[in-house]
Symmetry: C2
Subunit: 338 residues, 2 copies
């Protein structure tokens, strides 16, 4: 299905973002203040319940249908030796997802998420973005629409994640083009490259920033030139989720970087997003600050696959359960204060 028919249609959708339901937010705040606990004592759990109330348009939001959508793609620039793993691992890990053996399978099960894996032309890597745009406009639109197509309109929560050997290099390039800073500011070890590998990553990112430096700074052009299919799919899924009022839990550095070009054009794109965690990838702290997001968890994770967001989804479930099930002071006949 086509959700975004052209680059212009995608950018028009990005410019026209709806907001949450203010009435449901007010009702949820009132409910929180009536529940049997000192005001504010559930901290972020209260914020999460109020956030979901706003996006669901329901003062007592529930998570009945929760999806983890994991997008996979391959990258032409991996010929430059920027990853600790060969590109063939992307397809091998997709097979592992389908067989149920990866971290995201276990963590989706633990948080009761229905997993959907979308492999995007793995046998057709993007072009090497040090010499050309990663994708044609058509390929980029196809990836945006593949992402949008993974978002059913009855979802209560969407976790987004990715698999793509080399994609922390693309993520760093996206961040630098979207928010400024040097390649070195955004680069890190990814799955575990050494100092020389990081130097190679910096070189690749610097060349990409230079050869695409003349291009328009729109979200679409940035995604097309220095992104990748799985990255554009996350961007498309996140924008589509916004149109449907579905809260999105972002995973780590890559999924945040997929939103970076959108946030550079319209910072309100993160309003329906929760940063599931802060990863161990060094650029993620800076990226979260640029996106205006405070991560829910900080567990030193750096796996991708949506794994950190899936763990966060369990905390989100707990927050909504407390909001929905707790008794009020009046119901429980508890004295509210001295």
């Amino acid at each position: 299905m086509t959700f975004f028919s052209s680059a212009a249609a995608f950018e028009a959708a990005l410019a026209d973002l709806g907001g949450p339901d203010a009435t449901a937010i007010a009702q949820a705040r009132e409910r929180q203040s009536a529940l049997t606990k000192p005001a504010g004592s559930l901290g972020r759990l209260e914020d999460i319940a109020i956030f979901f109330a706003g996006w669901h348009g329901d003062a007592r939001p529930r998570i009945d249908k929760a999806r983890a959508a994991i997008f996979a793609g391959n990258h032409g620039f991996t010929v430059h030796g920027v990853s600790a793993f060969p590109p063939s691992v992307t397809a091998q890990m997709v097979a592992n997802f389908e067989a149920g053996g990866a971290a995201i399978n276990a963590l989706s099960a633990a948080s009761d998420l229905v997993l959907k894996v979308v492999a995007l032309d793995l046998d057709r890597p993007t072009a090497d973005f040090t010499t050309a745009a990663a994708m044609s406009a058509t390929d980029c639109l196809d990836a945006l629409n593949a992402g949008a197509g993974a978002v059913e309109d009855d979802l209560d929560l969407l976790v987004v994640g990715e698999m793509g050997i080399g994609n922390s290099t693309a993520a760093a390039a996206l961040c630098a083009r979207s928010f400024g800073g040097s390649a070195a500011d955004w680069v890190g070890p990814g799955t575990g490259v050494d100092t020389e590998g990081i130097a190679r990553k910096i070189g690749v990112i610097e060349r990409a920033l230079e050869i695409h430096g003349h291009a328009a700074r729109s979200a679409f052009e940035t995604l097309r030139r220095v992104g990748g299919r799985e990255i554009a799919a996350i961007a498309g899924a996140t924008l589509r989720a916004r149109q449907l009022g579905v809260p999105v839990v972002l995973d780590g550095f890559i999924s945040g970087a997929a939103i970076a070009p959108l946030a550079a054009d319209n910072p309100a794109i993160t309003d329906h997003c929760i940063a599931g965690h802060c990863s161990a990838e060094p650029g993620h702290v800076r990226l979260l600050a640029s996106l205006g997001l405070t991560p829910l968890l900080s567990l030193g994770m750096r796996l991708g696959e949506g794994s950190g967001a899936a763990v966060a989804a369990g905390v989100i479930r707990a927050a909504l359960t407390a909001h929905d099930r707790m008794a009020t002071f009046a119901e429980a006949e508890v004295s509210a204060s001295l």
Copy 2:
């Protein structure tokens, strides 16, 4: 049942702590390195799996039976106006726990914990510790044994928590006596007292530290003099859990403070403990550092009742699910590295 027949028996048990199973730890580490992910990329989730392997003596530990034990007690010093709530709220909240309406009910359900609420002589508050020891030796032993009795020997995980109007004042006194520092270093707003309330709390703690300053600095004497029944029960439960090899998830400032006198005598008491979260109560950061614990979550919670630890238990379940269910590189036929 009597687990600790005397103060001396309690302190002998504290001096004689067993350790985890080194073989199971080594096997769990080996398994983590073989699972389909970059080495170390699950961060704390890997540490948690290895920790449980050690205490369960099982390279692939599982959580089948998990308990949240919440202890409630009342405090004589509340006559000095140290809480935003009247002492009658302790019993009202115990009734709320029993009716299923409190935060810990919802959060236990979300993390699949079986909740046990132990109310300790609520109609008989401890003595005002600004003028006398909070408890007689018999009362303190009874509370320690009540805590120990809440720990079945087939538990895979124990969450400890508390309810006791005023007990953040007792907690601050326990911390100061155990680890040094002034009353002001350890005091905070608790459930939400204002600046004047905090000043009253400091005065109460300073008087308590002064009148009990001459007493022996043993764990038992500190618990007896400036603790409370629910606090001693947490100490007894934690020590009993250690004897049984049951990992304990500590909640916030109060449950950590219950362990402080034990840790001052034998720092190894925290080896089987996970700090579920860092609460918003200001003294908790200092307390966690003194206990040598790094909190799993930091969500701005400050409710007590075991609520933060219950949320953490969900993350712990996710960690063990990943450790148990993931495929190895060999099983999934994924290339381990370049």
